[in-house]
């Protein structure tokens, strides 16, 4: 049984197909990288899978039931979505913003309890935000803000996390931290679809890659297969420049064991 499945997804806007018959599946425990050039339809696909936008044709199944058949609150408990552009309207504190991620688990009048607090503490620790928990959002750097938004999505502890470019604003060390974290989530049995522009990160961390090009699936499978010279040439117009053909896009740097921050 697949956890999340999109079938023949098609989205048309102003006579132009943003997505044109895309099939995608996500298995439990899987870290799936969604890659493709700008405008390929990655964000649109992620919105469909999150259930916040409807396809013009095709459908999304969560645990083999149509996503639309779930109550919004139930869906929110199972599928967490981290949008790409997440402007936060009010400078609330980091902790309060992250706490909002627990909302789908709360009853109408229920306040977050000790269990929720423990989850929030853990998430803050894993996103390196413990020291910033009282800080107003607008006093944080761009990278810190991105981590807060990720922490909010993680706090839901959903079965599926759909993250649209979560590492775009981060420095290299925090990029690795976030990817490690996503890996960890998947190893614990949950599943993640992550949109990435950094192909080395994608190749290094993801179990599978899904390459979109002009609203269609160009290739899909293990990183070594998807990142063929032909595919990259078609999708991005780039050629490989590496002597290590077995592990293309191996990270040119790695984390040192010395604490630097």
């Amino acid at each position: 049984m697949s956890l999340l499945k999109g079938q023949a997804l098609r989205v048309v806007r102003r006579q132009q197909a943003l997505l044109d018959g895309v099939d995608i599946t996500l298995q439990p425990g899987e870290l799936l990288g969604l890659i493709g050039p700008n405008g390929a339809g990655k964000s649109t696909l992620l919105r469909l899978l999150a259930g916040i936008r409807n396809a013009d044709s095709g459908g999304v199944l969560f645990r083999d039931a149509p996503l639309g058949s779930y109550e919004p609150a139930t869906r929110a408990r199972h599928i967490a979505y981290l949008p790409q552009a997440g402007d936060v309207a009010w400078p609330m504190s980091v902790e309060r913003l992250v706490t909002l991620g627990r909302t789908p688990h709360l009853g109408p009048w229920q306040q977050p309890g000790p269990g929720d607090r423990a989850i929030i503490d853990r998430v803050l620790e894993r996103t390196d935000l413990l020291g910033l928990r009282e800080r107003p959002y607008d006093t944080l750097s761009g990278g810190e803000q991105a981590r807060v938004r990720l922490a909010r999505a993680l706090a839901t502890e959903a079965d599926v996390l759909l993250a649209d470019e979560p590492v775009a604003a981060l420095d290299p060390a925090h990029q690795l931290d976030v990817m490690d974290l996503l890996r960890e989530i998947c190893d614990a049995g949950r599943a993640v679809i992550v949109v990435l522009h950094d192909l080395s990160l994608a190749a290094h961390y993801c179990d599978r890659l899904h390459l979109l090009h002009r609203g269609r699936t160009l290739a899909e499978g293990p990183p070594g297969k998807v990142m063929s010279e032909a595919n990259l040439q078609t999708a991005y117009g780039i050629t490989l420049d590496s002597d290590d053909r077995k592990r293309p896009f191996k990270l040119p740097w790695r984390r040192s064991n010395l604490p630097s921050r």
């Binding site: 919105r47 919004p72 609150a73 936060v88 309207a89 913003l97 909302t103 009282e134």
Partner: protein, 332 residues
């Protein structure tokens, strides 16, 4: 930081409000012995002080309380819903629609035929204008489109008000309309209170449990949507609530500016910027501010009363400017 526990802010505002209510009952052109008047009002032959208290001061105080609370609350709701600190409760048409509705009843002389037609016209105008904004913007509109539709409908409603002023049959009608537009609590009666009450309470009730959805909107519309907030439904519900509450308030009091804009803005830092925590304090603060302004109006020794709407704008505008400059200094 300078963030306080929620209950302390509410207790402080609530206590202040109680004090100001008492003050409002005491202050006026006649000095009345409050306790004696209170006792008399329950007897079968109430004296003059008792009549002043129950027929004039009490309705006036309660109307100020309800209208001020609605303005403050709806200001907080609109700012949170539109994710914009410059949103006012009238932004999506309720205030200008109410003004137009009320002016129409004044223009056609309906208001003098039946007293209730003026507030009723106001509420109807507010509902229609808000509905128009909602339809113009469309179901899936983004926030900017909504604000622009609101601006367009507001200008159009106010243009129609000007047209009616322009075409008014007599100088008397012009004066009546113009004075109503200034916003006043001077002539409110018990009937006004009864007309104000249903729409106000219904509006508050519709807002009551939406704090959490407003909190989630902080994260952006898409994130809120993914967390289970049905944005089109939330908008419809809150638009209706604001049209009812603000429409009722404006129809009885006339245009009263700046309370809905300034009060939430002022209180927001004190509640840690969280929309759900801002609702009750904004209602209390709005009531407090309008009552204070009304007391000020009564206490200023001038021939003829200054209209309370003039006072709130007169104090509100410079204060708002100070807030912006102060905030900029702190940020820079």
């Amino acid at each position: 930081m300078n963030e306080h526990p929620q209950w302390r802010i509410n207790a402080l505002l609530g206590g202040g409000l109680l004090g100001v209510c008492l003050l409002s009952l005491l202050i006026g052109s006649q000095t009345i012995p409050l306790w004696q008047a209170l006792q008399e009002s329950f007897s079968s032959h109430p004296g003059v002080s008792a009549i002043i208290l129950t027929e004039l001061r009490l309705p006036r105080t309660l109307v100020a309380l309800l209208a001020g609370a609605s303005l403050g609350l709806c200001g907080a709701v609109m700012q949170s819903l539109l994710r914009n600190p410059l949103a006012s409760p009238g932004l999506v048409g309720s205030a200008s629609g109410a003004a137009l509705g009320a002016v129409v009843t004044l223009y056609f002389g309906l208001a003098s035929l039946a007293a209730f037609s003026l507030p009723l016209g106001g509420i109807l105008g507010a509902l229609l204008a808000t509905l128009l904004v909602y339809l113009l913007a469309g179901r899936e509109a983004d926030t900017l489109t909504l604000i622009l539709a609101g601006v367009a409908v507001n200008s159009f409603a106010l243009a129609l008000v000007s047209l009616l002023l322009n075409l008014a049959p007599s100088p008397y009608a012009v004066q009546e309309i113009a004075l109503w537009m200034l916003g006043s609590l001077a002539n409110v009666s018990r009937d006004d209170l009864l007309l104000l009450l249903p729409g106000t309470l219904l509006g508050w009730l519709l807002i009551a449990r939406q704090g959490r959805a407003l909190d989630l909107l902080t994260l952006g519309e898409e994130a809120a949507d993914s967390l289970g907030v049905g944005l089109p439904r939330l908008r419809k519900r809150l638009f209706l609530a604001v049209a009812l509450a603000v429409g009722s308030a404006i129809s009885v009091t006339g245009a009263i500016g700046f309370i809905g804009l300034v009060v939430p803005h002022l209180l927001r830092p004190l509640v840690g910027y969280q929309p759900s925590r801002l609702l009750l304090p904004s209602a209390l603060g709005g009531a407090l501010l309008l009552l204070l302004a009304d007391i000020l109006v009564r206490a200023i020794p001038l021939p003829g009363e200054i209209k309370v709407g003039v006072i709130t704008s007169l104090i509100g505008a410079p204060f708002f400017l100070w807030l912006i400059l102060h905030g900029r200094r702190r940020a820079g």
